[in-house]
C-alpha cells in the first residue's frame, strides 16, 4: 500500500537526502516536506500523512516537542525522531512520546527497516 511520508527538517539538504532514499526504496510512495514545526502541523492538517520523520535539532520547537503535538492530533501516527546526537535523554523522551529514535545521517538501510515496520503497524491499525 502506498504511504505518504512527512519529512520535517530545517535543512533542505537533509530533506532532499531522505526524499532520495525514499524514492529509491518506495517509488510509489509520496512525500511531503516541512522546514519547521508550524509547517509540519499545517501539512498534517491539510493532508493525510501515514508516517513522519522529524529532525530533533530545529530552530523554534524541536523534534520532540513537535512529536508530542503530532501525537495529540493523531495518536496512531508512527513517528521517528532523527538526530545526529545519540543523547540518552532524547532517546528516552522519544520513547515516552511513542516515537522511534533514528540516528543521523539516516542511511537507506536504517530507513528501510524503520519504514517497513512502521508501515505495517500503520496498516494493521487501519484494519482494526
Amino acid at each position: 500500500m502506498s504511504c505518504t511520508v512527512l519529512i520535517v527538517d530545517d535543512s533542505k539538504l537533509a530533506r532532499m537526502s531522505v526524499a532520495k532514499s525514499l524514492r529509491s526504496l518506495h517509488p510509489d510512495w509520496t512525500h511531503l516536506e516541512a522546514a519547521n514545526a508550524d509547517d509540519a502541523l499545517a501539512q498534517v492538517r491539510k493532508h493525510k500523512v501515514d508516517l513522519a520523520l522529524l529532525d530533533f535539532n530545529m530552530p523554534g520547537r524541536d523534534g520532540l516537542t513537535l512529536a508530542a503535538e503530532l501525537k495529540a492530533i493523531d495518536p496512531s501516527l508512527p513517528l521517528a525522531v532523527v538526530s545526529a546526537n545519540h543523547q540518552e535523554e532524547i532517546i528516552r523522551k522519544a520513547q515516552e512520546i511513542g516515537a522511534v529514535f533514528l540516528a543521523k545521517p539516516l542511511t537507506e538501510k536504517v530507513l528501510a527497516e524503520y519504514l517497513s515496520g512502521a508501515a505495517s503497524r500503520r496498516n494493521a491499525a487501519a484494519k482494526e
Binding site: 535543512s11 533542505k12 539538504l13 537533509a14 532532499m16 537526502s17 530552530p59 540518552e88
Partner: protein
C-alpha cells in the same frame, strides 16, 4: 554536479555565515545563550550536511568543533576559542570553494581535518597552556609504542594506531565498541586494557564500560574516518608512517619537534657522569617518539638503534649523532598554507557552479532553437520545389524573427550562467576584519548587507583584492583608536559596513566606516611633498578634487608603513584593478563622520577579443570578429584612385585606408617596400587598414567612451592595457 551536492554547497555557505555571525556576537557578549545555541545548531547542521554528502574530513572537523562547543556550554566563551571556531569555519569555506570548483574535496582534506581535531583536543586538554602541548603529545603517544612493541611482525604493515576509550555508558547507548573495531579495514592487532583497576568481582557493573581498546591497522587513517564517528567516547588516532623508501627522504620538521630534539641534544651533551644511562634512555625514547610523531619513521628507527648502541656502550655519542642527523636531514617546515588556497583559486577561475534552473532554461532554449532550425529546413525544401515564393518569404521572415528572439534569450541565458552572489566575497571578511582589528587594537563591528546581490563571476572573483585593500585602509587609516573615538563622543567600537546593491546594469559595492574621514589638509600636504602634483595645482583643487589625489600613483597616506596597508600598493592600484573590470571607484568623506569608498562595477562583463595593432605611435584594438586576414602588400600594387587607395586581393578590389590618418593622426610617411595591411570584413563589405605593426591578441573588457573621447568617430570603446596604456578599440562597421 548532482543536486544534493549543489544544495550542500548553498546550505553550508549559509550555515557558515550564520555561525560566523553568532561567534562574532559571542565575542562581544560571551554569555549570550541564544547566540550560543544558534552557533551550536549551525555547527551541528553543518556536520550533518557533511555526513549526507559523505565528506568525512569535514564531518570529523565539525564533530570536534561541536564537541568543544558542547563542553563549553553554559560558560562564557573564551575569546581564544572564538578564534578556533572561526578558523574551523574558514577551513570549511576553503573546502567548499574547492568542492565547488573541482567537484571533489581537496586531497589534503583529511590532514587539515586532523589539524583541526587536534587543535580542539588541545584546547580542551590544556586551556591556555601552549607550552605543555608538545610534552603532552609525546606522553600521550606512549601507548602507541606499547602497541607497536607488542605487534611483532605486523609492525611493518601498521599505518594507523587507534585508541578507543568508550564512554562508560556506551553500552546503554547501544554501542558495541568491539563490533566497531571488527568492521575496521586492515585490523592487525587488538589489545584490551582496563580504564582503571577493576573493582572486586561482586562489585563489577556489567553494563558500565571500562574498557580501553587499542588497535593497529594497516589501513591509512583517512579510510577509517567513516567507521569511527559511530562510537561514543574518546578516540585517538595516530597515523604511522610505513617503513619504506618514501620516508627516507628528509621531511620537514615542525618547529616544536626541532625544539624538542635540540633539548635532547643539550641533555646528552651534559657531561656530568651521574645517571648517564637514564639520560640516554630518556632522550632516546623521546627523540624517537618525536620523530615518529611527525612521520619520520626512518629517522625514528635510526635514533632507536643509536639509542640502543649508546646504552650498551654507556656513551651518548651515537645517539647524539643520530639526533643531529635527523635535525640536519630535515629542513624547516615551509610555509605551505597559502599554496593550496592559491591553487584552489586558480581552479575556481576555470570552473563554474551553475544553478540548475539556469541550465534548465538553456536546455529549453536549445529545444526551441532546434524547432526553429527544422522549420527553416522545411522552408528551404519548399523553396527548392519553387512553390509560392511570397508565402515562403513571409514564413522565412517569421522564422527569422523567432530566431532573433531566441538568440537574444540564449545570449542572456549564457550571461546568467556567469553570475554569482557577492556572498562568495563578503563571507571572507568577518574573519579578516576580526584579525586586522585585533592586530590594530581597534574594536570593529562589521556589518554586511546585500550579500545576495549577484554579479558576473569574473567581477565577483576579481573584486576581492581591491575590496580587501579598501577594508584594510578603512581599519588602518579611517577608523580612529578607541580612545580618540571616545574623546570625540563616538562609540569606542567602530562600525564598518560592506554593502552591495544592483543598480540597473551596474553593481555598486560600498565600504563605509564611521571613522574620522579623510584628512584633506594632510592629503594636500602629502601630495605636494611627494610630488604627486605641483603645490600650486594642489592648492587650486576643490575639496572634491583633492580627495581624488589619493588615487594618484605615488600617493600613500600612511605615515608609517604598517604591515597591513603599507604594501606599496595604494589606491591607484585599486582604481586600476577596477578599471580592468570595466568599473570605477569613488570616495566620499565627511570629516569626523567617516569615509565611504564606492565601487561601481558592470553587472556583466562583455569580453571582446581583439587584435592589437600600432599606427601612428598609438595602439589600437581591432575586434577579431571583423578581421579577415593580414597581408603584406608591395607598394607597387597599391593603386591610387583619386584621394583614395586600393589594392587587389584574390581578384577583388579592396579599398585601403591608413589607420593613423583616418583617426586624425599624422599622415604616415612610411617608405617601407611593403604595407602591413589588416583586411576587415563586415556586413559583406571589405576593406584594408594599413598599420605600422601587428601586436598580440587579447581579451578585453570594453568601456564606453567618456570625457574628450566621447563622440570620436570610429572608436567603439577603450580598455586599459596591463601596462597602463589605453587601448582604443575600433568600431570597424563605422569606418568602412
Amino acid at each position: 554536479m548532482n543536486d544534493l551536492l549543489q544544495q550542500f554547497l548553498v546550505e553550508s555557505r549559509e550555515l557558515v555565515a550564520q555561525a560566523t555571525d553568532d561567534l562574532l556576537a559571542l565575542e562581544r557578549t560571551p554569555g549570550d545563550a541564544a547566540r550560543f545555541d544558534s552557533a551550536f545548531r549551525a555547527f551541528h547542521t553543518l556536520k550533518g550536511a557533511a555526513g549526507i554528502v559523505d565528506f568525512d574530513a569535514m564531518a570529523r572537523a565539525l564533530h570536534a568543533a561541536e564537541d568543544a562547543l558542547a563542553r563549553g556550554r553554559g560558560a562564557p566563551m573564551p575569546p581564544a576559542h572564538v578564534g578556533d571556531y572561526l578558523s574551523c569555519l574558514d577551513q570549511v569555506i576553503q573546502w567548499l570553494d574547492h568542492l565547488e570548483a573541482s567537484g571533489a574535496p581537496p586531497a589534503d582534506a583529511e590532514a587539515r581535518a586532523d589539524l583541526l581535531v587536534r587543535r580542539f583536543a588541545e584546547a580542551a586538554a590544556t586551556p591556555g597552556d601552549a607550552a605543555g602541548d608538545a610534552a603532552d603529545d609525546t606522553e600521550a603517544d606512549l601507548w602507541v609504542d606499547g602497541l607497536l612493541a607488542a605487534a611483532g611482525e605486523a609492525r611493518a604493515q601498521a599505518r594507523t594506531a587507534l585508541r578507543l576509550r568508550p564512554a562508560e555508558d556506551c553500552f546503554f547507548r547501544g554501542d558495541d565498541p568491539l563490533a566497531v573495531i571488527e568492521t575496521l579495514p586492515g585490523l592487525l592487532v587488538l589489545r584490551l586494557e582496563p580504564a582503571g583497576p577493576w573493582p572486586p568481582r561482586d562489585e563489577i557493573d556489567p553494563f558500565a564500560c571500562r574498557l580501553v581498546v587499542l588497535a593497529l591497522l594497516s589501513a591509512p587513517e583517512a579510510t577509517l574516518a567513516s567507521h569511527l564517528h559511530t562510537v561514543h567516547g574518546q578516540m585517538d588516532v595516530v597515523p604511522l608512517s610505513p617503513a619504506g623508501p618514501q620516508d627516507t627522504a628528509p621531511s620537514a620538521l615542525p618547529a616544536a619537534a626541532r625544539a624538542l630534539l635540540e633539548a635532547q641534544l643539550a641533555l646528552l651533551s651534559d657531561r656530568g657522569a651521574e645517571a648517564a644511562a637514564g639520560r640516554i634512555a630518556s632522550a632516546g625514547r623521546l627523540a624517537e617518539n618525536v620523530l615518529r610523531r611527525v612521520g619520520a619513521a626512518a629517522a625514528a628507527e635510526a635514533v632507536a638503534r643509536a639509542a640502543a648502541a649508546s646504552a650498551a656502550a654507556g656513551d651518548p655519542g651515537p645517539l647524539a649523532a643520530a639526533i643531529r642527523q635527523a635535525l640536519a636531514g630535515a629542513t624547516q617546515a615551509p610555509a605551505a598554507t597559502d599554496a593550496p588556497r592559491a591553487a584552489a583559486m586558480a581552479d575556481t577561475a576555470r570552473t563554474l557552479r551553475v544553478d540548475v534552473a539556469r541550465i534548465d532554461a538553456l536546455v529549453k532554449l536549445t529545444g526551441e532553437v532546434t524547432v526553429a532550425k527544422n522549420a527553416v529546413g522545411h522552408i528551404a525544401r519548399l523553396a527548392q520545389t519553387g512553390t509560392d515564393l511570397p508565402a515562403l518569404a513571409a514564413r522565412l521572415k517569421d522564422q527569422h524573427a523567432l530566431l532573433a528572439r531566441l538568440t537574444d534569450e540564449l545570449q542572456s541565458a549564457v550571461l546568467n550562467l556567469r553570475v554569482l552572489p557577492l556572498r562568495h566575497v563578503f563571507q571572507r571578511f568577518p574573519r579578516l576584519v576580526r584579525e586586522i582589528s585585533a592586530d590594530l587594537g581597534k574594536p570593529v563591528r562589521l556589518v554586511t548587507e546585500g550579500e545576495a546581490t549577484e554579479a558576473d563571476k569574473a567581477v565577483v572573483e576579481a573584486v576581492f583584492e581591491p575590496l580587501l585593500h579598501v577594508v584594510r585602509n578603512a581599519l588602518d587609516h579611517g577608523i580612529e583608536p578607541p580612545a580618540r573615538r571616545s574623546a570625540a563622543g563616538k562609540p569606542a567600537v567602530a562600525t564598518l559596513r560592506l554593502h552591495a546593491a544592483r543598480q540597473g546594469e551596474r553593481v555598486v559595492i560600498a565600504v563605509a566606516d564611521d571613522g574620522g574621514g579623510i584628512d584633506l589638509p594632510r592629503v594636500r600636504r602629502i601630495a605636494a611633498e611627494r610630488g604627486v602634483a605641483g603645490a600650486e595645482a594642489v592648492a587650486a583643487l576643490s575639496d572634491a578634487e583633492a580627495i581624488d589625489l589619493i588615487f594618484r600613483p605615488g600617493f600613500s597616506t600612511a605615515e608609517t608603513v604598517t604591515g597591513l596597508s603599507g604594501r606599496g600598493v595604494g589606491m591607484d592600484a585599486v582604481r586600476a584593478a577596477l578599471a580592468r573590470m570595466g568599473g570605477s571607484v569613488a570616495v566620499d568623506s565627511r570629516t569626523g563622520h567617516g569615509t565611504t569608498v564606492r565601487f561601481t562595477l558592470p553587472f556583466t562583463v562583455m569580453v571582446t577579443r581583439v587584435m592589437t595593432v600600432e599606427a601612428g605611435g598609438q595602439a589600437f584594438g581591432i575586434p577579431m570578429d571583423a578581421v579577415v586576414e593580414t597581408v603584406r602588400v608591395p607598394r607597387g600594387r597599391i593603386v591610387r584612385v583619386g584621394a583614395a587607395a586600393a589594392f587587389t586581393l584574390r581578384e577583388r578590389t579592396v579599398p585601403l585606408l591608413s589607420l593613423a590618418r583616418e583617426l586624425g593622426g599624422p599622415a604616415d610617411g612610411t617608405a617601407s617596400a611593403e604595407a602591413q595591411v589588416v583586411v576587415i570584413g563586415t556586413d559583406g563589405q571589405i576593406g584594408g587598414f594599413e598599420v605600422d605593426r601587428l601586436g598580440e591578441r587579447l581579451d578585453v573588457v570594453l568601456q564606453p567612451m567618456d570625457g574628450i573621447l566621447t563622440g570620436m568617430r570610429g572608436i567603439a570603446g577603450t580598455t586599459l592595457l596591463g601596462d597602463g596604456r589605453v587601448l582604443l578599440v575600433l568600431d570597424v562597421q563605422e569606418m568602412l
